[in-house]
């Protein structure tokens, strides 16, 4: 079971986890990313490239399912204007093996950060700016790349 959603609205981690738990694998790992309100942030706006986003998220889920014995993958990413504390992203995986669930969950969020065409713009009252990509994210994603 692979489920991928890109949506403006919120999602309920409980529903997604319950769906993965119902698969009976025994191990469910998840990661939720939220908007941090640091420095007086008033809005986070998420732009994306619709035709490519779905394709890249699906490719990542397929790669994870090829590398680990997974029985379920859920990837949900929100778009549009979000306030401090709101959820941005959910990655959740199910497997019969805890290491497979945990590692694939880390793989998916690390690689999503560099491979999926989303862009964040932060607003602080009257000022707003597009967020710069972080080198640390490239490093985190690179550790999952295997020698050819």
């Amino acid at each position: 079971m692979i489920e991928i959603r890109v949506q403006p609205g919120d999602f309920d981690p409980a529903i997604e986890l319950a769906r993965l738990e119902a698969l009976g694998g025994g191990a469910v790992a998840s990661f939720v990313g939220q908007v941090r309100g640091d420095g007086g942030l008033t809005e986070l706006f998420l732009d994306h490239y619709p035709a490519m986003t779905d394709r890249m998220l699906r490719a990542l889920a397929d790669e994870a399912a090829g590398r680990w014995p997974l029985i379920g993958v859920v990837l949900i990413h929100r778009i549009g204007a979000l306030g401090a504390g709101e959820r941005i992203v959910l990655v959740a995986t199910a497997s019969a093996h805890r290491a497979a669930a945990l590692e694939s969950c880390a793989f998916l969020i690390d690689r999503l950060k560099t491979d999926a065409p989303f862009w964040k713009r932060e607003r602080f009252g009257d000022r707003s700016h597009w967020v710069d990509a972080r080198e640390a994210d490239d490093v985190a994603a690179d550790r999952w790349r295997r020698p050819d």
Binding site: D47, Y49, M56, V89, K113, W119, K120, W130
Partner: protein, 85 residues
């Protein structure tokens, strides 16, 4: 060769449009060539592509480096490094 060119994030804002259909001349072979050609239009284009190393590209929904050939592309997207998640 006509191709759809899409812009995202601050690239889109500087150029002022999200998408256009363009016909790059024959000498425009790679993504880097395309950036140079677009920058040559001046104005927002020159501003958006002043530092081409800050631009990423996708050809038909797959990431493509500056040396990638654009021949046969139906849709080319130009944007800053991604910042999702």
């Amino acid at each position: 060769m006509a191709v759809d060119i899409l812009y995202f994030a601050w690239v889109r804002e500087r150029i002022g449009i999200a998408q256009e259909r363009a016909e790059p001349p024959a000498g425009v072979v790679t993504v880097a060539d395309l950036l140079g050609w677009l920058a040559g239009r001046g104005g927002g284009y020159a501003e958006a592509f002043a530092a081409p190393e800050r631009i990423r590209a996708a050809i038909d929904h797959a990431f493509a480096g500056p040396e990638a050939a654009i021949a046969g592309a139906r849709e080319i997207a130009l944007f800053p490094p991604v910042t999702g998640g």
